[in-house]
Assembly symmetry: C2
Homo-oligomer: 215 residues x 2
DNA sequence: GTCTATAGAGCGATAGAC
DNA sequence: GTCTATCGCTCTATAGAC
């Protein structure tokens, strides 16, 4: 079953197609950038999570900045595609048509940012407004969502503001890991409940699953 | 008027009391941490903005982490104190009492985050949930605001959620520097207007002033 | 397709003079 | 109260073997 060597040294990495390896690295990078931030993350940490060597990460993407930009682009693509699909779904017309659509979009958004890598990569982009490349992508992405809600979903201005605002509050409460202190401070759960309402179970399920994965 | 030397070398820094120098460093650090993030900022950049040497920054605060924590604590203090003062102000009772109070608090918040250092230091803290020290401060600070709105201002749950959500959207649109592209994309201004409504002039005034200062 | 080795640059922190 | 000099570490990126 074993190689001849009995040491615990790193086993030679399996040779797999570059495209597949790319995906592995992007998945790892999403996690690491999400947790440590763009500057705080190192290509070596990404490499370790992906199970390969640090120079190979660099080789694959040229620079650390390119790698981050691709992670960000993927997150934005998933967000836009997810929303567009829901908006395109057939829906019954009625007084609460807009509320129903907003609830569906909100649910899809919470689903998406349950992936902490996606959540924090997006937030990293938000605070990189000063960076010409990342900042431009963040502005363009935000405006694309705005146009989609206005033109494709047909939301009136106040509904757009309410929807986007709720989303940014979701981001923040999940980013600061409010569920981590539910047992230390009952107000933490109260605030989460008041913010997420029906969506809370969704969020807590994901949080619990992540905690279990950590252990 | 001049020293004997005619070179353009850095002039010897004026000797000023430590407490005053501390404030200068904190002000510089707020700007630098805000723009570059905790990991992206260097103590040398802070020192240059403050007009002193890099080792002096470290000597004053022990470590870079301590310096960031103090910047964050100052921002939270200003926020909490500002809100508390407005809530304590006498107000006429009536149907729109809560709306009026919310509008005043919102205005104060926009005033505060016009200071880009404060805005981005807060947002830096939000995405540092994984960091035991910074993350704990972020959670505690957010819950303090929540309790203030619930117990001191007397807001009902939906008003709290709406207020906090609007604030987080303010944060995001300012952080990504949406006003920077008003002339490239008219939707940018439309989104800002739909979000900030009456407060827009406040925001744009500050943005214009900052742009002028940069040049 | 993947690794080891290492160059080259930057950064936080310390030591010690003035 | 403030600086200069510098150590030692970490990190990105390159070179080149397999």
């Amino acid at each position: 079953m074993n190689e001849t060597s009995g040491t615990a040294a790193a086993q030679p990495t399996e040779r797999i197609p570059a495209a597949e390896r790319r995906e592995q690295i992007l998945a790892a990078a999403s996690v690491v950038f999400g947790e440590r931030g763009y500057s705080g993350a190192t290509t070596d940490q990404v490499a370790k999570v992906a199970g390969i060597s640090q120079p190979y990460v660099v080789r694959m993407f040229g620079t650390k900045e390119n790698l981050f930009l691709e992670v960000l682009a993927r997150a934005l693509e998933r967000l836009v595609a997810g929303f567009r699909q829901i908006i395109a779904e057939p829906r019954e017309h009625g007084d609460d048509e807009m509320e129903l659509l907003a609830a569906r979009l909100g649910g899809a958004y919470v689903d998406l940012i349950e992936d902490r890598g996606i959540l924090l990569s997006l937030m990293q982009a938000f605070i990189s407004g000063h960076n010409p490349v990342v900042g431009a992508k963040a502005r363009a992405g935000f405006l694309e969502i705005y146009r989609m809600l206005r033109d494709e979903a047909g939301f009136p201005p106040d509904a757009i503001r309410g929807f986007l605002a709720d989303g940014m509050l979701f981001n923040t409460l999940l980013a600061i890991r409010l569920p981590d202190i539910f047992d230390e401070d009952p107000d933490a759960e109260e605030l989460m409940r008041c913010t997420f309402r029906g969506k809370l179970d969704l969020v807590l399920g994901a949080t619990a699953a992540e905690a279990a994965a950590d252990a």
